[in-house]
């Protein structure tokens, strides 16, 4: 325990004396959180929808009007040819195709159930997926209108549903910031924690100071813990700053419990830092560690459902996605912040993160060699 005290004291002194590291840890993430949502926001206000209508009922007309009036969409085309719509997507004139099948109105009223089809441009993935998410909300909204209008008193409990691809959209105000800010915050905490941890031990290898450490009787877990705790605190600090920015700049107040959020982030940070330290123990210089960390971080982030929903991925990609700690974090961030999920709802993800934390850190401790 006493050894740990000296390790921590030394680590903090070094962090606060590193003029290159400080802005990277404290300022850059904040600037990104301020700039990234604003920059991306403009794009998503003008999602071009091509509507393929095979029904031509008053009902579809109402739906089209509603989409147009939402303020986020531009109706790029309205026809009854899917081919024509696809052509527009190919020429980047449309981002999303909404296909309304024949007898849409009739089926919805009679059978209480009707599917529409949604296809999003995969090239401009962000616009496509966020646009689809918005559109889903419009459709859900429209659907409840339907029920109000058509449902008979004795069938009040029944809800007619429009089946669509995107099931877990939970941002009723259709506010892009609400959708992206929690995820970007997750991304920033991940980047800062992952890279800083990955570069740290390997740096001691590069400048040779690890040799002087390795020749002392220090325990391996003490050394790793001495590296872990400072970065864990930095991660929690960054996360808190991010929440404050979300609150005061974007007006986002987590719907769910803050305590649950912090509990989850605490465990997630341990898992993530374990990953970083593991990369560090396998690398022999900072450049190598940087590339390895970058390689995995890219996969983690792209596969995390941050930009494109996990449920739209092919099966193999879903498997990979579930094998990264970031995916579960992004999911839980959105669940707690937007949906107000409780601990019971995120229990599964929580235990998955615990497993990641235990495995990655044990691996890092095991792979850190005092005798090579």
């Amino acid at each position: 325990m006493r050894t740990l005290k000296f390790l921590l004291r030394k680590e903090f002194k070094q962090i606060f004396r590193d003029k290159g590291l400080l802005p990277l840890i404290f300022i850059m993430p904040m600037i990104q959180l301020l700039v990234m949502p604003l920059a991306a926001n403009f794009d998503v206000k003008n999602v071009n929808v091509a509507i393929v209508d095979h029904d031509h009922s008053t009902y579809t007309q109402q739906l089209v009007n509603k989409i147009g009036a939402s303020g986020y969409f531009r109706i790029a085309n309205y026809s009854d040819s899917y081919k024509e719509a696809l052509h527009l997507v190919e020429h980047e004139k449309a981002d999303i195709i909404l296909e309304i099948p024949q007898n849409f109105e009739r089926n919805l009223i009679r059978e209480n159930n009707q599917k529409v089809f949604l296809a999003a441009d995969a090239i401009n993935g962000v616009k496509g997926s966020i646009g689809s998410a918005y559109l889903t909300t419009v459709l859900t909204d429209f659907n409840s209108d339907v029920r109000l209008k058509w449902v008979q008193p004795q069938r009040l409990g029944a809800v007619s549903t429009i089946g669509i691809d995107y099931s877990n959209w939970f941002n009723p105000l259709m506010d892009y910031h609400k959708f992206m800010v929690p995820a970007i915050l997750a991304l920033l905490v991940t980047m800062v924690g992952g890279f800083v941890a990955a570069l740290n031990i390997v740096r001691e290898k590069e400048i040779g100071t690890i040799e002087q450490i390795n020749v002392t009787p220090i325990k391996k877990w003490e050394f790793i813990l001495g590296k872990m705790i400072p970065f864990w605190l930095i991660g929690i600090f960054d996360f808190t700053l991010g929440l404050l920015i979300a609150r005061f700049v974007y007006g986002i107040i987590p719907v769910g419990s803050i305590a649950t959020l912090y509990l989850f982030v605490s465990v997630y940070m341990i898992a993530l830092l374990g990953f970083g330290l593991l990369v560090s123990t396998y690398s022999s210089n900072q450049l190598q560690a940087m590339f390895v960390a970058f390689f995995f971080m890219m996969i983690f982030i792209l596969m995390s459902g941050l930009f494109s929903p996990v449920e739209n991925m092919p099966q193999w990609a879903k498997v990979i996605s579930n094998l990264t700690p970031v995916t579960h974090f992004v999911e839980v961030m959105r669940m707690i912040v937007l949906k107000g999920s409780t601990f019971a709802n995120i229990k599964k993800q929580f235990f998955i993160e615990i497993i990641f934390a235990v495995v990655l850190n044990s691996w890092a401790i095991w792979n850190y060699r005092k005798t090579s």
Binding site: K10, Q212, K370
Partner: protein, 247 residues
């Protein structure tokens, strides 16, 4: 009779096909100053790292302070100090902070740390620089500090890998005063050097050539054995046959 500080028998280190250290055998008595000589690339650092528990030997056997280098490395580490060839204290910590950190890791109490800090700063005459970052110090002072840190916990044996490399003659002289002081305190000294005048300061020396130990004795006996005037001539006689050399 005193127990042996280091016993080394057929100790070998291979990197792939390359045999960096080839079956070296020797013993070092407690309290001795043992010089470990050899040309560049002879295998001194590699051998020393095995003895310090930093590197697994490929074969052979060795004990340091009575502990086995194959499976008791952590016990060895509690009984030795090590100063590596490349300066490896923290350059962005001050002298006192380095002393506190390494002393703390070796389990010194707060009072001991404070005393050590003051004592070292006084003997090294570094009062003015005590709060300066170590990276700003001249090399000679860095080396002295590294040595002081290596013996901060009063180890049984201290390993010094070219402690005076690149340092001016006056500072080298002062450095050897520190070594003698440590030896007087009962610390066994295992030291490598390329300076033959320093070899003369050792009780016994070994000379490594291409991974093997080709000679081992007191400086006086070695000069007799090779019928040479100076240690320089002895070294030259042996190292001439070396195939492995950086220069």
């Amino acid at each position: 009779m005193e127990e042996k500080a280091i016993i080394c028998k057929d100790l070998t280190k291979q990197f792939g096909d390359f045999v960096a250290v080839n079956k070296i055998s020797f013993e070092v008595d407690s309290g001795e100053i043992f010089g470990f000589l050899g040309a560049n690339g002879a295998g001194k650092t590699t051998a020393m790292r095995m003895l310090c528990g930093l590197s697994f030997p490929s074969s052979g056997e060795a004990t340091v302070a009575g502990f086995n280098v194959f499976n008791q490395q952590e016990k060895i580490k509690r009984n030795i100090g090590y100063m590596s060839q490349k300066f490896s204290l923290y350059e962005n910590l001050s002298i006192l902070e380095n002393i506190e950190f390494f002393g703390g890791i070796y389990g010194l109490s707060d009072r001991q740390l404070k005393e050590k800090g003051e004592e070292l700063v006084n003997t090294l005459r570094l009062q003015k620089e005590a709060k300066k970052m170590v990276g700003e110090l001249p090399l000679g002072w860095k080396q002295k500090l590294a040595f002081s840190v290596a013996i901060i916990h009063k180890p049984k044996i201290v390993f010094l890998d070219e402690p005076t490399g690149g340092v001016d003659p006056i500072t080298r002289r002062q450095f050897w005063d520190l070594i003698y002081k440590a030896a007087d305190d009962g610390i066994t000294v295992f030291v490598t050097t390329h300076y033959m005048d320093e070899a003369e300061y050792c009780n016994r020396i070994s000379i490594m050539v291409d991974g093997r130990i080709d000679a081992l004795d007191t400086p006086t006996n070695l000069k007799k054995q090779f019928s040479a005037e100076t240690m320089n001539d002895v070294f030259y006689e042996l190292a001439r046959g070396a195939k492995r050399s950086d220069n």
